[in-house]
Amino acid sequence: MADEEKKPLTDKATGDEVRPTPEYTEGESERLPEPESDIEEAVDKALEASEKAADTPVVKAWDDTVKAVQAAVETLEPEHDEGITDFRRPMLEGAAAAQAHQMHAGAAHDHNDLHAAFLSDTTTVLGRTVTVPGGIYTVVFGFLAVATLVEVLIGSLPSGILLIPLLLAIAVVKAGLVVAYYMHLRVDPRLFLYVLIVPLAMALLATLYLIAVPPTGY
């Protein structure tokens, strides 16, 4: 070190002597300004203490633990596909799940084929293979028409306490058929179903509350 200081410093590229910056005095960066207030002095002391504490075995052990947990979490997270935002991932996963479900059932092998099932004139209804123009769409329409007829017949019966739940149940089944087959929720991403179910549940809850509350005070 002592020898080096005696030799003039030279620039490696040009070989010119390097002179110190005029305003710079040796060791300036090491010297801290004198603390101007009690607060600054306390802060300096606290920083010194924390630097010392960082070298203690307890703190090192804590650091190691945090690193181990981070590493473990990273192995749990699925790899992000390049160019796919988190926003789209649930939809893709939903589609993949629907696809996997269908593959398990031995049916279509990709999302295109899932929709392609709606294009066939042949469909399976309650275990039977049926061929009609329009396939599943026409079969669903048949169910809807018959269910409506049944509803009207039940509705014309003398009113009984069981009729209301029965009529509502038929309406729910009809709506379910339209949503599942005509609106394709049966094969489309699950996210769409949740988007429908949550506000529906809210509206139902609010309605039940309003019905339970007396119209005018107690």
């Binding site: 789209r88 939809m91 893709l92 589609a95 993949a96 696809q99 990709d110 999302h111 295109n112 929709h115 709606f118 294009l119 329009g134 769409y137 026409t138 669903v140 329409f141 809807l144 028409a145 409506t148 509803e151 009207v152 039940i154 509705g155 014309s156 009729l163 209301i164 009529l167 509502l168 038929i170 309406a171 009809k174 709506a175 339209v178 949503v179 087959y181 005509y182 609106m183 394709h184 489309d188 991403p189 996210l191 769409f192 988007v195 429908l196 949550v198 506000p199 529906l200 809210m202 509206a203 139902l204 609010a206 309605t207 309003l210 019905i211 119209p215």
Partner: protein
């Protein structure tokens, strides 16, 4: 999924209307979110009706006698049939048959128009029976059914636009997103009617 992606991206470059899988997912999700807001609006109208129905059942019963069930049942059948025609139209587009699409969506629009027309006949009958919008029951009956009717009218106009674009040959097996989006709206309006029919006319 991967095959669909390949097919979409391999579409000729001059087909600027062909949507990407991301556009399809986004457009459908946006439509479902819009329909979710409709759930709350119709939920409010139905809730108000049900509260009245629960507290004053005798008034409601009287109105149901005035209405008769035949007309509205036929109307319900027509709306269900219009939903069937809607999916059949989409099916033709997916089968690369634009003429079939135009024919089926034309039937959808026709059935929707007939539904609104019959609703007008029904309203006229009710007005003669003295049930007007400024009666306690009237406002609770007309608000949900008329609001639904407005949705059907909007749907018919939307169908006419799909027909006009379909006649230009815009929709085919690669590009049917706009038809599917319209279908989501139309079927939702149908689902709302399934509940209105049961709750207002049958119960």
């Amino acid at each position: 999924m991967s095959e669909m992606s390949l097919e979409r991206t391999a579409a000729p470059a001059d087909h600027h209307d062909v949507p990407t899988p991301a556009q399809i997912s986004n457009a459908k999700l946006a439509t479902w979110l819009y329909l979710a807001s409709e759930v709350i609006i119709f939920g409010t109208l139905i809730a108000v009706y049900l509260v009245f129905r629960t507290n004053y059942p005798e008034v409601v019963q009287h109105v149901q006698d005035e209405l008769g069930i035949l007309l509205v049942s036929f109307n319900t059948f027509m709306l269900l049939a219009s939903s069937w025609a809607m999916v059949m139209g989409l099916r033709e587009a997916q089968k690369d048959n634009p003429q079939g699409l135009v024919r089926w969506i034309g039937l959808t629009a026709l059935l929707g128009t007939a539904f609104v027309a019959l609703q007008g006949v029904e309203y006229t009958e009710l007005a003669h029976a003295g049930i007007s919008i400024d009666t306690e029951y009237g406002m609770r009956f007309y608000a949900p059914t008329a609001f639904h009717g407005v949705h059907v009218i909007v749907g018919v106009l939307w169908a006419l636009r799909i027909i006009a674009r379909g006649r230009q040959g815009i929709y085919n097996a690669r590009n049917y997103l706009a038809v599917e989006i319209f279908g989501l709206y139309w079927h939702f309006v149908d689902v709302v009617w399934i509940f209105l029919f049961t709750i207002i006319y049958l119960i």
